[in-house]
């Protein structure tokens, strides 16, 4: 079928790349946003833009009275408090009653005040979940699609390396003055080769991370339906049933001190009190992942009444390796520069996918079949739809009042409408025009307008203009604004260039002598 290896690899690269590239583009885009999910939360939830407390809050004096007040008299299965850190200044409190019904609050760590409307948004969580579920939860369809795309992605990368004849020679080559297909290919090679190790690692660790979704039999053959037992064993978790007799709770702060001693400086990320008020109450603490790659959180369990250590988790070797691989993908560590580099490499991944697909379509333009034109429209709709839909969420978030209960739904609707709009515009244009010309100029203009509206909306509704956010040390808000301004400028730049070119073209047409 193929004359040589290179031809076979070209076929594989273009077929798999074209179809699953669209899925991977969505995954890379959302994943890049998810790197800054907490920062997006700060931007989308002004109530949580608190300045970090100077000292860690006392659990005994500041948290326990609040829990007692909020849950007065209720029998609880557990309560759980996420301690504030550099990225999340608010304290998150979760309470589960005996019927497994959970309630969520966000508290100001300085005074224990409950923050109003602190979860009235899709928030960064939306982008994080979209990244691996594609919002297709039924039958784990999204997760499986992402898995297939990631496996194909690894193959496509290998095929791409075989095709790329001048990998070293063209390592730094980008020629913006060449014709469009060549320019796109340069861009594709550049953005594919530079972050290549990152792309391989991120695709592989993403697959490893969700292995129960892709290789469920590895789990069910040993554990049957009891998959929870697998997670308990692999993470070396510990539990005990309640005694159904009243008991007291010793000092939580003392347990934190003991935990920090055992972790040699590591801080607790959360504290969970199981069976509070029971004689068999016990306290679970996990280490913060802020200063390590691995997601091994080294759980510690203390006896509630005495504060004595009951169990310290110890991962088996395979689970430790899994912890490092998962950590490489999940980036729980809090190093702003490293997160920024993850974001850049993710964005380069988007550029690689978009330019690759566009290169193929630009070259195949001479073949004017309707199917090809539809594919062009679909690809354009995804490339333009992703930023437009994301910006629509942010603008909606700043336009609607915080007190409105259906805010998150409205944001989701804006996301869907913006994306559907972009798809329709692109498909319509591709079908109408024989050259499958897409209205890039208008789409870039829309991106610029929405990005500007988001920055303006944030400034007007909260007073946190970018310069004020910098002055107040609100780096999350300032950072999101800075990216929005950059995106707006890029969009406006392309719009301006398109306008100049269109004017030049129409001037040429008008200047032609009548035939």
């Amino acid at each position: 079928m193929f004359g040589n290896l290179r031809q076979a690899m070209t076929w594989l690269h273009s077929i798999l790349g074209l179809w699953l590239g669209l899925v991977l583009l969505v995954v890379f885009f959302m994943g890049s946003l998810a790197v800054f999910d907490h920062e997006l939360d700060r931007w989308m939830l002004p109530a949580t833009r608190l300045s970090a407390p100077a000292t860690a809050p006392s659990l005994d004096r500041q948290v326990r009275p609040v829990v007692a007040r909020l849950t007065a008299g209720q029998a609880l299965e557990q309560w759980y408090v996420e301690l504030p850190d550099a990225r999340v200044p608010a304290l998150r409190l979760q309470v589960w009653d005996r019927d497994d019904k959970g309630t969520n609050w966000f508290l100001d760590p300085r005074d224990g005040r409950v923050l109003a409307h602190a979860d009235a948004t899709l928030g960064g969580e939306f982008f994080y979940r979209f990244h691996y579920t594609l919002q297709l939860e039924a039958g784990q369809l999204g997760l499986r699609l992402v898995g297939v795309a990631a496996m194909a992605g690894l193959l496509v990368i290998v095929a791409g390396l075989v095709i790329h004849a001048r990998l070293v020679k063209d390592f730094f080559t980008f020629r913006p003055t060449k014709a469009l297909p060549r320019r796109l290919l340069d861009l594709h090679n550049l953005s594919g080769v530079l972050p290549l190790p990152f792309h391989i690692v991120i695709l592989f660790t993403g697959l490893v991370l969700s292995f129960p979704g892709y290789l469920p039999s590895a789990l069910t053959s040993v554990y049957g339906e009891e998959t929870a037992a697998f997670w308990e064993e692999s993470r070396s978790l510990w539990s005990r049933p309640p005694a159904e007799a009243p008991g007291r709770l010793a000092s939580l702060d003392a347990m934190v001190v003991e935990a920090e001693r055992r972790w040699q400086g590591g801080a607790p990320a959360f504290v969970r009190v199981w069976h509070p008020g029971d004689a068999h109450a016990y306290v679970e603490m996990r280490r913060s992942l802020a200063d390590r790659v691995s997601v091994d959180a080294e759980a510690l369990y203390f006896d509630g009444a005495s504060g004595a250590l009951l169990h310290a988790s110890q991962r088996q070797p395979a689970a430790s390796v899994f912890g490092v691989l998962a950590g490489l993908h999940l980036v729980h560590f809090q190093q702003p520069l490293m997160r920024g580099l993850y974001f850049l490499a993710g964005v380069l991944g988007c550029v690689m996918l978009a330019s690759g697909m566009w290169y193929w379509l630009a070259r195949a333009r001479e073949r004017q079949a309707l199917g090809r034109r539809l594919l062009t429209g679909l690809t354009g709709g995804v490339i333009a739809g992703l930023p437009l839909a994301t910006l629509a969420v942010l603008v909606t978030n700043r336009l609607l009042p915080m007190t409105w209960s259906a805010r998150a739904d409205a944001e989701l609707a804006a996301f869907g409408l913006a994306w559907a709009g972009a798809l329709l515009v692109c498909l319509g244009a591709a079908v109408r025009s024989s050259q499958a010309q897409l209205p890039w100029r208008g789409l870039c203009g829309a991106v610029a307008v929405l990005a500007g509206a988001a920055v303006l909306g944030n400034g007007l509704s909260t007073g946190d203009w970018p310069w004020r956010a910098v002055a107040a040390g609100q780096w999350a808000v300032a950072g999101v604004d800075a990216v929005l301004v950059l995106v707006g400028l890029i969009g406006a730049g392309f719009w301006w260039r398109g306008r100049r070119r269109e004017r030049a073209e129409s001037a040429v047409v008008e200047g032609l002598p009548d035939a």
């Binding site: 190790p197 560590f333 490293m338």
Partner: protein, 103 residues
């Protein structure tokens, strides 16, 4: 602050090393200097490789093995992009570096 200086040093060293490696290629050297650096190409390459190795060593020494390696690998994206875009749009920006190598 200390983290910023350490990472900044690694970043600068890695970036200069990548730029040196780019300058060993005739087409890039021509864009920057108007001619090839054929005489100094071997030295340029050696310096670039040493610079890359040093930046990795510095990253590991200051940020630990795990974060050091991760930082170094991710820096290829940032610095490679900067060098490629400089060569495309502002090759003069690399001229001071290239001229210093001539002597």
């Amino acid at each position: 602050m200390r983290e910023l200086i350490e990472v900044g040093l690694v970043l600068a060293l890695h970036g200069v090393a990548l730029a040196l490696l780019a300058l060993t290629q005739d087409k890039h050297a021509r864009a920057v200097l108007g001619r090839a650096v054929s005489a100094g190409a071997a030295r340029c390459r050696a310096l670039g490789v040493v610079g890359l190795a040093l930046s990795l060593a510095l990253a590991v020494a200051t940020r630990g093995a795990a974060f050091g390696c991760l930082l170094w690998i991710l820096l290829w994206s940032l610095n490679g992009l900067v060098v490629a875009l400089l060569l495309a749009w502002l090759p003069r920006g690399l001229r001071p570096l290239a001229q210093r190598l001539r002597g």
